[in-house]
Symmetry: C3
Subunit: 206 residues, 3 copies
Amino acid sequence: MNLLYTLDLLGTAAFAASGALAAIRRDMDIFGVMVLGLVTATGGGTLRDLLLGDTPPFIFKDETYLYLSIAISLLVFLFHHTLSRLTHPLTFFDAVGLGTFVVIGTSKALEFQFGFVGSVMAGVMTATAGGMIRDMLSNRVPMVLQKEVYASACLVGGILLTLLHRSGMPRTFALLASAFTVITLRLLAVRFNWSLPRARYGNAQH
Amino acid sequence: MNLLYTLDLLGTAAFAASGALAAIRRDMDIFGVMVLGLVTATGGGTLRDLLLGDTPPFIFKDETYLYLSIAISLLVFLFHHTLSRLTHPLTFFDAVGLGTFVVIGTSKALEFQFGFVGSVMAGVMTATAGGMIRDMLSNRVPMVLQKEVYASACLVGGILLTLLHRSGMPRTFALLASAFTVITLRLLAVRFNWSLPRARYGNAQH
Amino acid sequence: MNLLYTLDLLGTAAFAASGALAAIRRDMDIFGVMVLGLVTATGGGTLRDLLLGDTPPFIFKDETYLYLSIAISLLVFLFHHTLSRLTHPLTFFDAVGLGTFVVIGTSKALEFQFGFVGSVMAGVMTATAGGMIRDMLSNRVPMVLQKEVYASACLVGGILLTLLHRSGMPRTFALLASAFTVITLRLLAVRFNWSLPRARYGNAQH
């Protein structure tokens, strides 16, 4: 499906840019910028493929993802001052990546006969694990565990796709509807500054 | 073996609670609480299965572990104030998990024809890697590397089980004796506040 | 090839020592020292084998690596005061490990029919991922992402080996020439204090 592949590459580029920017903010050298770009863009899908037992992971079967992530990281390294003014388009393409990665991950797990929770997890992981590794390498608590409706948009998309798949919807429709739902939720969350509930932990030292 | 499966689920629940509590202490949102609960309870066994080449990992073959971990994490999210008063039962069930996870991991590696060190490592990893990932996601040095006789109880259990296995003991006896040893050592360590030796590093800045 | 295996063990020992020293600096107990020694020495190759789908990873097929890493870690635990005076030999053997790990990783990926970027990545990862996990367990930003020409020496070695392999050079020559190049570059970088360019991020708070 060519549209999905195109969206996948757009998302990969946006995720690579976000990783490269994080590396620059942490004062990493050019190697660090490439590693964080690569890991953010491809880490989630790679972890998913390891868990599915589908080795080698997708990035080693179609090196387009690697070339694209490295190229974007180098561009960000050179032109990050310009880029930091482009937060609007970056947020948009990041949301595209989020939606696309979720549906690719969930649908692949469904093909591998994973159960309900496992398939949703595979989708959420595809979309969020790269960013978590990026944050762990940056010595921070992963943003996705603390802030904004980022992961929940993924959860909704993974659950929706699993339900549509089980109810026998045509695959293309199910994929696009789920991806579109994630992208819309994510953009609304950014626009209206939604966030998830937290347990109030009080003033205790921790 | 039904007793071992029961202990395994008890341990999974205790580990999930410990992960969820850590997430609440770090002010994570409800998604973070679920992720840390899941990772703490199932991360060690998942990593073990990846290393054994037994994919997909156990959690995707029997989703009970996933449902249980998520349910416990949500309960902790809702009732953590009550829970923080239950340190005694939590410590007890955590020790049960430790013993059970070690013997499950070691015995699985022995079945896969791993050598002595590899089998012990598989057991220790099953019991401790989930907590290490929890601490890395919380941006802390893993507790198990710094404090208390936690990992060494696992080491003793893994070594004991490997020796009993090699000496031809009946499997059930070997498993239960080893798990019981780990649980006892762990509870004694908590009770008497044992800790492992450290190299004295002096006052150097680091 | 016996020379390569000897260099591999030398490198493993040097990497284990670096991991054990990092653990001591972070005030870890004896278990932490063993874990960081093991992870630094064998983590990169283990991750590579997971990504290649070659499970169980090499350390479980030939336990020499495990015994060696544990023994070195315990020696470092006991004699770290002496060891900290031996920075010159340690740097040398660490460079040997770097060169050897890169060529082992890259050549294994080439055997598994990986593409250009994938093979270079496999080599760089074999040499650097163990140290990255060591730093993540120590709650620091991985040194390799920030400082010195460490990873780029690996990149050069991996690229050189892939080119020599494709141009049909005899395997032994290609391996030794590439390893020697990495070792030389690394030692020159230490000697002359080379470092990679960074993007200037300005004074912004982050």
